[in-house]
């Protein structure tokens, strides 16, 4: 039963990270199509960058604590990537160069999104497996 709660907990964080990434992507797309100006776009993105990193770190930790080693291992490279960006102080979007960085920032976030979706599918699968296992017990 506890594992089920653990899963729910993980899911909340996973969904949170995905939605933050989605939000950032939305800001970038809006910028590309000229719906918002670079100042607003950069401000909105920069506002959620750190929450994204923290949520992801928590997710990673919670995978670890709930004993899902494989999922934790899968999300560690992501954590490492975020950490290096942060340490190089490149995690924030630069409003002055945002148009030159647009494609890179976008593809980076799209990649993250894909990564998270895979993680989501995997954990869903695992969850169902757990539930099924428990019912059989």
């Amino acid at each position: 039963m506890w594992s089920l709660y653990g899963w729910l907990f993980n899911f909340i964080f996973l969904i949170a990270v995905i939605s933050i990434i989605g939000y950032e992507l939305m800001c970038l797309t809006d910028l590309e199509f000229d719906y918002i100006n670079p100042y607003d776009s950069a401000r909105r993105i920069n506002m959620v960058v750190l929450p994204e990193y923290i949520t992801q770190a928590v997710l990673c930790l919670s995978f670890l604590l709930t004993g899902h080693w494989v999922l934790c291992l899968i999300s560690v490279p992501y954590l490492y990537f975020n950490l290096t960006l942060y340490l190089q102080r490149k995690h924030l979007v630069d409003v002055t160069e945002i148009y030159n960085q647009l494609s890179r920032e976008k593809s980076q976030r799209l990649f993250k999104l894909g990564y998270l979706v895979i993680l989501l599918v995997l954990s869903l699968f695992w969850l169902l497996w757990t539930i099924a296992g428990e019912e059989f017990d």
Binding site: P38, D94, V95, T96, Y99
Partner: protein, 1042 residues
């Protein structure tokens, strides 16, 4: 060395216009014989039918001159041909009439024979003499008389035999040949005129007209055969020959060309070929001492920048190139073509470029009808729109939408479809116009011109005397500030605290308020920090008078630059305007303080190197973004004698469309003139306020990246808070569709701005360029100036993310790729194996590329240029218009002593006499006096053996002193007056900067070293390539995988 073919003025544009049909086949022809033949078919019409047989039978071995060979390669099977040399044996038909081989008069000169082997008999004698490779040398060196009898055609066949071996210049296996060969090539050049005279004349007489006739067509380019070499032509031959055919009329490579010219009478085709490309034969073996290149005849932009004027007919309505220059005036029609054009594709725009008197952009006011724009793409009405439906509709030239003509703008069309009122409509006849914008183009009332000064008053600023100069200059400019009587002005000074000045007009003396809470800066007074100049004039003057004395005893060494910047932002954000920062001490207090991260020598050459050139603290970028948002343009004047991290501070200017002026180790005694001139210009030049610029272009293409000092407000909107005539912006194009179907694309630059008078205006420049499907045409229409400007911007941007060395090799690589692509178009076809070929339009590109690699932002490593200077030069070059950039890259060097000694020479006369010299130490004669002018500074170089008379006249008693301590001033001698007049003229010709004059005596190290010698870009200095080496290196790489 052979030859090369600079564009000589006499033939330039005609060929294209004259013979377009013949051109195309060349340019898109591949290099393979077989395919060629088919490609060329279309050309046939221009070739008289009777010529084709000889061509097919040409003596050539397979693969040569495919372009001219209408016959399919199968013809080679002709028994007489398989081995060209062998074919000499049979002195087959006497068919040589077509060859310029008059001596063999015995041959029936008549038209009849096109034997398979053209010109065989005449060659028989020579082969015996000349065929071994070594014998080329004598041949080349004693060209005149001995060679008289074997006319140029002679070379061909023999070479044929020996050619494969001797051609590869870089093959070490033929050292003797190779080393001798270049020499031969070179020497053949000069003797040629003589040769022509001697040989041709005699032959012509006996031979009679029949012989000559075939050559009458080609003579243009073809020296040896030209029966009537014009004097002008000869002279060209001497130094710089024309086109490939001419290029090596005589050299080893010449065979095919000669053959072409002899067998290809059609004039158009011939000329077309001539104009097709230029070439330079570089023969050298690695390790040989003599590079084999005559450095005197290499192409040099001694005329300065030449704007492209070879635009085809029909583009005369384009705006002047000083406003908009495309890197190539032929837009590729497909992605694949773009990928084969290895140079940047785009435009360099200088929207407010200074127009000479009489050519100013006319200002139009559409009060009644409103500004006519396309409904869909918002293009402004321009000369390229077409009116239809008897004048009721107009078709947008950019998106092809049919728009209604407003009633007030309606005019009938005449029989040819032109509006009857065309001559009263400048917007329909001129490429550049300015519209007065109505209120819908304003988001707020037009702002007044606003100047805000942020002045460092710390001890080093006081000591350097900067404050005094600045105060004096500002005061002297108060009358000339644009926008009277609306102009606003304000001041903040800072050291470890921030000082505000209340300049309320009712006061007599300004009130100073000091804020020392740097963490939470606030404005002590809601208004009156920024005042109307005309109302508070006396207070402002009183302030400026007292400013130098106010702080003269200031011992404060700190600088609260960041907080002061924030304060200035708060004061200005209501209105926007121009912020001038005078910065002397490294920011050390409060937000935005910078570390002495220093000019760390260890960082150079590592992957971390670039981080020294990017701003350290995001504070400055953020501030710059905020400044732009509130329409504030920032100009930074930096004076520090120590490292002050201009990489960070300069971003303020970069992202606000401003400029960075750097005066390293400023001392009022030396630099005050420069500072006050440049500050005056900054304050008084016509400025466009709160501007935005957009460039529109036709369907299928899009501007994707923008390069320069500005910030993008949306994907294609350049925000320019304060812009003036000294700023240019570059943008790169990309194709959105795989294939462009339209014939022409149009570009329209629109700059919406507030003029100083308070009027909102839109300046519109429109230009058209043809779409081509042919790479050769793209290269032909290339504009070196724009390309170099673009390349340098890209390179400087790249220094922000990679090592200098990588950036330089990147520039090099781009040039190599472009030349290689171009070579692939022509080389095989024309058998130009050992030659460097390049389009006429790009003849200066290699040199500018070299100069770019040696320019201040890219040069050397740690020790070559101080980091601050490097960054400052980078910011400057990102903003310079094309002409000034080219002058900075390849400065002018002129010898003065002759002019000064000549009596009664006036300065105007000097313009004519003024001859720019190649930038190499060889140009400097130790008996001369030279002036070096790169647009930013002037250096007078005194030769060691300069006559003491001149030195005395110019310098007076200081002549013997060390020149670093001598300042040039006008003396009581005629010569001195004339020199000063001349310098004045030089400065007037380029007023955007003040060129300080430095004096250097030959041998006075290290001053001479860094002022002159390292700037001679053609010389080999400190591990960099000289021009000749650079070309050889380019050539070698072009040949690899070619």
């Amino acid at each position: 060395m052979g030859t090369e073919n600079p564009g000589r003025p006499s033939f330039p544009a005609t060929p294209f216009a004259a013979a377009p049909p013949t051109m195309t086949p060349f340019s898109n022809s591949g290099s393979v014989v077989g395919s060629e033949a088919s490609n060329l078919r279309p050309m046939r019409p221009t070739v008289p039918p009777n010529t084709s047989p000889p061509m097919t039978a040409g003596p050539a071995g397979s693969g040569e001159s495919p372009a001219f060979r209408p016959a399919p390669p199968t013809r080679y099977n002709d028994p007489s041909l398989p081995t060209p040399p062998s074919s000499y044996g049979p002195p087959a038909a006497g068919t040589f009439n077509r060859f310029p081989t008059p001596p063999f008069g015995s041959m029936p000169p008549g038209p009849p024979a096109r034997a398979p082997v053209v010109g065989q008999p005449p060659f028989q004698p020579p082969p015996s003499q000349v065929s071994p490779p070594l014998s080329f040398r004598p041949q080349g060196q004693i060209p005149g008389v001995p060679m008289g009898s074997p006319p140029p055609g002679v070379n061909t066949p023999q070479i044929d035999s020996s050619f494969p071996a001797s051609r590869p210049n870089f093959q070490p296996s033929f050292p003797p040949t190779v080393s001798g060969y270049p020499a031969a090539g070179a020497s053949s050049q000069l003797p040629l005129p003589g040769y022509v005279k001697q040989s041709n004349a005699p032959f012509q007489a006996p031979q009679g007209p029949p012989v000559q006739s075939p050559f009458q067509a080609p003579p243009v380019g073809y020296a040896p055969s030209a029966p009537t070499p014009s004097p002008q032509f000869l002279s060209q031959q001497g130094g710089l020959a024309q086109a490939p055919p001419v290029a090596s009329p005589y050299g080893l490579h010449s065979r095919d060309q000669i053959q072409h010219s002899s067998t290809m009478p059609p004039m158009g085709a011939m000329q077309g070929l001539i104009e097709d490309f230029s070439s330079l034969s570089i023969g050298s073996v690695p390790g040989s001492i003599d590079p084999g290149v005559d450095s005197k005849s290499l192409p040099r932009p001694l005329e300065g920048d030449v704007e492209p004027n070879s635009l085809p007919e029909g583009y005369s309505l384009n705006c002047n190139p000083r406003y908009l220059r495309l890197t190539t005036n032929a837009i590729p029609n497909s992605q694949s073509l773009v990928s084969r054009w290895h140079l940047p594709l785009g435009a360099v725009v200088c929207p407010l470029a200074q127009a000479p008197q009489g050519e100013e952009v006319s200002v139009l006011n559409f009060v009644s009808s409103g500004i006519i724009r396309c409904r869909r793409c918002r293009t402004y009405v321009n000369p390229f729109v077409t009116f239809t439906d008897s004048g009721r509709k107009w078709r947008c030239n950019i998106c092809a939408l049919l728009n209604d003509v407003p009633g007030d703008y309606f005019a009938h069309l005449d029989a040819t479809g032109r509006r009857v009122d065309l001559d009263q409509r400048p917007e329909l006849t001129k490429g550049s116009v300015e519209f007065v914008a109505p209120t819908e183009y304003m988001v707020r009332p037009p702002m007044p011109p606003l100047y805000f000064f942020l002045i460092d008053v710390s001890i080093s600023a006081v000591r350097s005397g900067m404050i005094e100069v600045v105060a004096k200059t500002i005061k002297s400019c108060l009358d000339d500030l644009p926008g009277f009587p609306r102009t606003q002005i304000g001041f903040i000074t800072y050291d470890s605290t921030v000082h505000f000045y209340n300049m309320k007009s009712s006061l007599t003396q300004p009130q100073m308020m000091v804020v020392s809470d740097l963490d939470d800066i606030f404005i002590p007074l809601p208004d009156d920090l920024l005042v109307n100049l005309s109302e508070s004039r006396t207070v402002v003057e009183a302030f400026l008078d007292s400013l130098p004395t106010m702080f003269q005893d200031n011992l404060n060494m700190e600088s609260a630059f960041g907080p002061a910047l924030k304060a200035a932002f708060m004061v200005m954000s209501q209105l926007g305007g121009k912020l001038l920062i005078f910065q002397n001490t490294m920011p050390s207090l409060g937000v935005g303080r910078l570390k002495l991260r220093g000019d760390d020598p260890r960082a150079y050459g590592t992957d971390k190197e670039y981080s020294l050139r990017v701003p350290e603290d995001p504070f400055y970028k953020q501030m710059a973004a905020d400044f732009t948002k509130y329409q504030i343009g920032v100009n930074v004047y930096a004076f520090s004698d120590k490292y002050s991290d201009l990489a960070s501070i300069g971003t303020l200017a970069k992202y606000t469309g401003g400029q960075l002026y750097y005066y390293p180790s400023f001392q009022a005694a030396n630099h005050s003139e420069k500072l006050s001139h440049e500050l005056t210009r900054d304050l008084t030049r016509e400025t466009a306020w709160e501007a935005v610029m957009r460039i529109r272009c036709g369907k299928g293409i899009r501007f994707t990246s923008y390069h320069g000092n500005f910030m993008l407000r949306s994907t294609d909107l350049v925000a320019l808070p304060a812009v003036d005539c000294d700023k240019a912006y570059a943008m790169q194009l990309s194709l959105e569709e795989t294939l462009l179907t339209n014939q022409t694309v149009y570009f329209q630059v629109a700059l919406l701005y507030t003029a100083s008078c308070g009027e909102r205006r839109i300046r519109v420049h429109t230009a058209a360029a043809p779409v081509v499907s042919d790479l050769g045409e793209m290269y032909r229409q290339a504009d070196t100036g724009a390309i170099v400007s673009m390349l340098s911007r890209l390179a400087i941007e790249k220094t922000m993310s990679s090592k200098l060395e990588d950036v330089r090799s990147n520039v090099h690589l781009r040039i190599v790729k472009a030349l290689r692509e171009y070579r692939n178009l022509y080389a095989v076809q024309h058998r130009l194996g050992g030659r460097l070929i390049y389009p006429e339009s790009l003849k200066f590109l290699p040199l500018y590329g070299l100069a770019l690699c040696k320019s201040t932002p890219l040069r050397g490593g740690y020790s070559d240029v101080p980091l601050d200077e490097r960054c400052a030069a980078g910011f400057t070059m990102m903003a310079l218009p094309v002409k000034k950039l080219l002058k900075l890259l390849y400065p002018s060097l002129v010898q003065l002593d002759d002019y000064l000694l000549k009596p009664s020479a006036s300065a105007d006369e000097f313009r004519k006499v003024m001859k720019r010299l190649p930038l190499t130490a060889d140009s400097l004669d130790s008996r001369g006096l030279y002036v070096y002018d790169d647009g930013l500074q002037i250096v007078l170089w005194f030769g060691r053996m300069l006559s003491p008379d001149i030195a005395m006249n110019l310098l007076g008693p200081d002549a013997a002193a060390e020149l670093s301590r001598v300042t040039l001033m006008e003396r009581e001698t005629e010569m001195s007056r004339r020199l000063m007049g001349l310098l004045k003229k030089l400065r007037e010709s380029d007023p955007s900067y003040h060129q300080l004059c430095h004096l250097v005596r030959q041998g006075e190290q290290p001053r001479e070293g860094f002022m002159v010698l390292t700037k001679l870009v053609e010389d080999q200095t400190g591990g960099t390539n000289g021009y000749v080496d650079w070309l050889i290196q380019l050539h070698r790489q072009v040949q690899q995988n070619a």
